[in-house]
Amino acid sequence: MIQTLFGSLKEAEEPEKKGLFDRMRQAVSRTRESLNDRIEGVLAMTREVDEAALEELEMSLLASDLGVATTTEVVNALREHAKRQQIRDGAELKDLLRAQLKAILDEQQKPPKTVAIGPEVILMVGVNGTGKTTTSGKLAAFYRAQGKTAMLCAADTFRAAAIEQLEVWAERSGVEIIKTRQGGDPSAALYDALQAAKARAIDVLLVDTAGRLHTKNSLMAELDKMRRTAQRLIPDAPHEVLLVMDATTGQNGLQQARLFTSFAGVTGIVLTKLDGTAKGGIAIAIAKELNLPVRFVGTGEKLENLLPFDSGAFVDSLLGA
């Protein structure tokens, strides 16, 4: 029976092969028109809101990495609202959607922990290659610009030249850096940095950790050890644990946020590389499912390319305002 099935499928398949491939190419090139254009297209229409418009909107949200669950919820709520409030045209629908997405993000924006005894300790965590080192450097400059004193701790002792990379950033932002050698114990580097920061009455200590996949248990346990090390010297530390996430991240971002939160107690997200074409829709799914706020966004490789998160601007960029 299986043989028959295989055989018959094979025959049907052969002549279509090329056709299918060409269609795929075509299909994918369609996405090149940006999401913005697509939403504009849907929303600029001043016809009555119908199911087709909502469905198109659903596609657009999926295309910006909101994920199936979040998209479905958002679209269902939008449909209900549209009915109740008798939405007439695309512009109104767009306003409604913008408000809805903004509300999801704003709900999580609670003020960060107040710092009783300094220094404020900020742990930068995340998977490999999301921009932790770059963000650490930019954050040092950010706090300095606010009139605070900052210090960097090079606790990525694993990746080749990570320490050297952070050293360059320390120089650029004009802050001191505490480091150990490559292959050293990150908790030891952290301990030294905490003591130095205390002794020098530093306001903010930024700790750059090694990139690690959230599925690697032993590496995740190392983060827990670092937390405990920090707590020994400063009871409330770490005050913030920022999960640095690449804006191109797809649905795996949820799992990243989930596991980093359970191991390292993430308190917020930094969304990096937003200067590309990806708009970081996964942040909305993360806010919704895991109640994590976005704290900062990275928009380039320069020192000043870091901004505090602005939900309005973020949603506008997502929807192509």
Binding site: L20, T215, Q256
Partner: protein, 459 residues
Amino acid sequence: MFENLSDKLQRAFKSLRGQGTITEENIGEALREIRVALLEADVNLNVVKDLIDHIRARAVGQEVMTALSPTEQVIKIVRDELIALLGKDTARFKFASQPPTVILMAGLQGSGKTTTSGKLAAWLQKGGHRPMLVSVDVYRPAAREQLKIVAKSIKANLYEGDLKGETAGTALVERLAKEARREAIITGCDTLIVDTAGRLHIDEDLMDEMQRLKALLNPQEILFIADAMTGQDAVRSADEFHKRFSLTGIVLTKMDGDARGGAALSIRHVTGQPVKFIGMGEKPDAFEPFHPDRIVSRILGMGDIMTLIEKAEEKLDRKKSEDFAKKALSGDGFSLEDFRDQLRQIKKLGSLQSIMKMLPSVGPFQGIQQMADQVDESQFTRVEAIINSMTKKERANHEIISGSRRKRIANGSGTSVQEVNQLLRQYAQMRKMFKSAGKGGMLQRKLMGSLGGMKGMGR
């Protein structure tokens, strides 16, 4: 979090029992489930749309087989479709007739170009080649230093070059590339791997620079290094890189995580170029040729038993496992010491979650993938800690562990007496179960039987 596709389909097809053919109506729900599975795996939206149309066209009108359940029948079609799109075979690597073969590594920031450059060099060395590495990333701080350290760790040739205080820019990049090729020829290296700076596909200046680098070096391979965790935007960057530079292949990195890797499908389709390698970790040898059929199982959330078997063969101590089985099934039963050995062995394979996700969700493993997300990994460590806190004598003979001993063990392992009790209870049960199975051979028969049932699902 993800329900396995075959389970979802099973539900969707409940209504199909007793019906003769798959029709437009009764396949609707199944197609919706397939669509969600593909989208959750980050396959591009438009690729999903077309795939679904195609699957529908092939499935509708088919007779419901008796040998295969409708679920299996449809999954077979989905698998075939995905494999056909990814290409059936593992792709080959192109070498120049006149050495050196030049390989240009391209991609966005943080995709893993430098790490992959090192791995590729190690892979070539293993195949008897003499690669030379050069980094022309003059922009990111310490990028060139990073490649230097990587090269040293694998004992590969590196052209370091001298920046001579020149400002970072295309002129410097071109000079380094030119010098490196000359150096490769002089020192008899047959391949030159050029690690470039990460760049956004919309960064005109840097994209121009890459174009000039291509014109200068005339590379045999231009590899696009892509992060397996990339979402829907993957098509946009890959498409732009391909349009500009005519890529020859893709390397999918960070595949040792739990990302489904749907981006592989998307990128393959927008460029038409094959995925040639996958990166499986940070070590230089964590680098493998790409097998399309394996990632298809992963995208569909249907386990990756092949990878699991390979991993097990590589990491597990076969003799220890066999000894354990013999002991467990015999009259004496296994001790807590043996149990700890087994725990440690399993740990070598990676997190329990990742192991469970590699199992197919049929036969004896039914439902195990859904459980994976609920697994508390720390439980594992606690169990080991409890056993560690026992004396050798206690480990060999659990029956002597009295109330006061339990208290001591709980204190020593930082757990509670309840947890120690629970472990001992579970251990006693397991021990008994294995022993009785050893007598009747019941468990073995049962296992063999269900494994036999799995064969149809293979590939």
